[in-house]
Symmetry: C2
Subunit: 465 residues, 2 copies
């Protein structure tokens, strides 16, 4: 329970009854909310921020020059945009070097293969390795292979991710990327290649993190583009002996740490400055493309939303905190650091929402808040309804990505579900560039985050209840 | 006039009147035509041929290992598919080496750039060059620049090709690729980069031939991907001094010739074996992707069409000749050699049609034949109508690509116009792979070429009249 609610108990009482006619926002505040919506819908600011970030900074791999530049960029932009407080909190991460990759089918039919190292992968021998392919249709098939059965082989998982609006094809596909290297190592494989975790048909491979199981030999892990995976399957139809060459010079030096930072900016609350409405995204990206979609869109939305609110003559009651997390891509390192720095106590975080998925318009709001406060969000949902945004029937949502860690630590959360049909065409690829940003959907989405931040900050509802 | 028409003058007389009720094909032949259509629509052969070519051979750059392999592949396939005669005719071409490319914006905001050498380009100095960009929105703007005004600059043409069903966005765009290097050299530029001649938004650049004007200094020429061109424009909005690094190790050694070959196969005519219905495609490709679309589709269609007809117990009256041209991509070298070898006399080529454009279904037949024979093709068009294929109002068409040279040499021609909306997404890129082939449209298109070859071979019409 927030202290201020002891003073202005009306809302919580109203919400306990669940049938009050009292609106959460008064007439003036309701008008303000609609005015903010109109302002965000008419503004190009979030797009312009993404354009600036992707043009002036480019990719932002943890520890890279771009990562450092992005921190200054974000601090300067926040100051320019009228944030009251802006600061950084150092985050220590591993600096992984992608190096070079060379991949090809050697026989029966020589072909060059478009491949990319998975994030965190170790390298091969300097001269590369040539081994026969052991093919598995799914990660489960790989898991079912007998121990030592892959000795002298490169494992290949060919499962293809399905396209869905909510991106739910990702989960069954991504285990091959995250855990495949460890499972293949356990079976004795020399390396693993996987079909890209992506829904496109481009000769562009998708990267993303691999997790090595402790105590197991680390083997090189790469993904190959969807058309190359098709070609490899066509060779495997013709021969059981498909020889594959892989050379990879990736490495991580455990002695070298990358110093990066979460960038935090606030619009100070006019009545309850210690209570935080948090909206977030991650500032880092992979070193392919310019991270326009992942997560430039999130960065643009959050900074623009806070700016629109900062322009109000009277600021909302609670503080609005924008958190741009560091080192999300390599394992949610920034948010873990953020929570640890606060000893796990984030009770002053009244509610939070992140953007780290999707390209198209938000079509549903999903809640993960206390039962008593749910009616307030149902009232908020009425503002979203004419925008084509529904409300989930369940109340078990976590925030996206980084902030899911904060949801787990007890932060009341909202998850806005956008159309993600195209997201995995670009995700973690060289194709993640500005032209993939849907400028119209971006306005819609920025308006929703702006309204959300205003509503939850101004209403002062205790969403933990 | 073909000799046989002196013997069986009926058709030409009927066609002179233009109002005969006599059908060009008799009832039995009409049934045969429909049976061939059904057979082609039910067959996967053309797809399987493309799958085989792209899997077992891969790309087929003139003079490369793949080029050589493709010739054996085509000869063997034709023999297997029941062609009566199969032979090759040597073609001598230049062997251009692509080498390596490195391209990046050096300042104000460093970015790596996805670029590709244009076919035939010379290289830069071994260490590359760094020069400021001189930007032109169109090729015409570049042409309008004063002489010597580009000294110490890299010219950049940013015109973006438009997407159209008939590919007519290509013509206004492609002059920058073909002639840009010579025009820029004339103005004193050190090199030229162009926005890819393509309709996609992938970080994949499009190659294609450059023509150097004789007597002018040759400068390196490369294209950059559409998203990279956007990024470069965004930098040019911010600064007049955008420094670009280009390193290119391409070269042609005029002393080294590439020996390649046109591959020719025939289904011998049962009555007029010396009169040729010619259907064609080109066998070579660029060294990016696997040339599945350009021109694997054409190769698959022509070989499958001839095969379907070869399966008939009585062969059509005229000979059906399939020509798979060499070295199309580097300047129609194969077809020129074909025509030269015959001293320009191709009067025995009764009619011809090629496929070298499009991915989707044919929607129109365009004719370029004698006035008297036009009614016969109008009759043929009646068979295509239920397949959604219209007939052009004009009668001035040339055949596609290679065969346009034969049209110019007097060969009566048909041009089947397919849906080319997606063609320039893949054209001359690493993305030209098997997955881009539309299997359903391919059946439709194969059926049409099969019917065309049968109709024109069996009817014996003199299409030059």
């Amino acid at each position: 329970m927030f202290n201020h609610l002891l003073k202005i108990g009306m809302f919580s009482i109203a919400l306990v009854s669940g049938s009050s006619n009292a609106d959460v926002l008064n007439i003036k505040e309701q008008k303000q909310l609609v005015a903010l919506k109109e302002k965000a819908l008419a503004s190009d600011l979030s797009y312009d921020l993404i354009e600036s970030l992707t043009t002036e900074v480019g990719h932002r791999l943890v520890g890279s020059e771009g990562d450092k530049k992005s921190i200054s960029w974000a601090v300067n932009k926040m100051k320019t945009l009228g944030f009251d407080k802006v600061w950084t909190e150092e985050v220590i991460a591993t600096y992984w070097q992608r190096g070079e990759i060379e991949a090809k089918v050697v026989s029966p039919y020589p072909h060059n293969v478009v491949a990319i190292a998975l994030g965190g992968s170790v390298g091969t021998h300097a001269k590369g390795i040539t081994k026969n392919i052991a093919h598995f249709k799914t990660f489960q098939d790989l898991e079912a292979a007998p121990d030592h059965s892959l000795k002298g082989r490169i494992a290949f998982v060919s499962y293809r991710m399905e396209r869905h609006i909510d991106g739910n094809g990702y989960r069954p596909a991504v285990s091959a990327r995250v855990y495949g290297a460890s499972v293949a190592a356990q079976k004795g494989a020399s390396a693993i290649i996987i079909r890209s975790i992506g829904t496109d048909n481009n000769r562009i491979a998708h990267t993303g993190s691999v997790k090595y199981k402790k105590g197991l030999h680390k083997i090189p892990a790469a993904s190959i583009s969807n058309p190359d995976a098709d070609m490899l399957l066509n060779q495997l139809k013709r021969s059981d002996n498909v020889a594959f060459f892989l050379k990879l010079t990736s490495y991580s030096d455990p002695k070298v740490v990358a110093k990066t930072a979460n960038v935090i900016g606030e619009i100070t609350g006019s009545e309850f400055p210690d209570e935080l409405v948090t909206i977030g995204a991650h500032l880092d990206s992979w070193d392919v493309g310019t991270g326009a979609v992942d997560d430039g869109i999130g960065v643009g939305i959050m900074m623009a939303s806070a700016h629109h609110i900062a322009q109000l003559s009277i600021k909302p009651k609670r503080t609005i905190r924008v958190i741009l997390f560091a080192a999300e891509e390599i394992g949610l390192v920034g948010v873990k650091s953020y929570v640890n720095k606060r000893n796990g106590d984030i009770k002053n975080h009244a509610i939070g929402a992140e953007w780290d998925f999707g390209v198209g318009p938000i079509y549903e709001m999903r809640t993960g808040v206390g039962k008593k406060s749910l009616p307030a969000l149902k009232e908020f949902a009425q503002y979203l309804k004419p925008m084509g945004v529904g409300l989930s029937k369940t109340n078990t949502a976590k925030a996206h990505s980084d902030m899911s860690v904060m949801s787990d630590a007890g932060m009341p959360s909202v998850n806005f579900a956008p159309d993600g049909s195209l997201y995995f065409d670009y995700h973690h690829t060289d194709n993640d560039t500005l032209d993939k940003v849907d400028a119209k959907a971006l306005k819609h989405n920025t308006a929703i985050y702006t309204m959300f931040a205003y509503f939850t900050a101004q209403s002062g509802i205790d969403f933990s209840q």
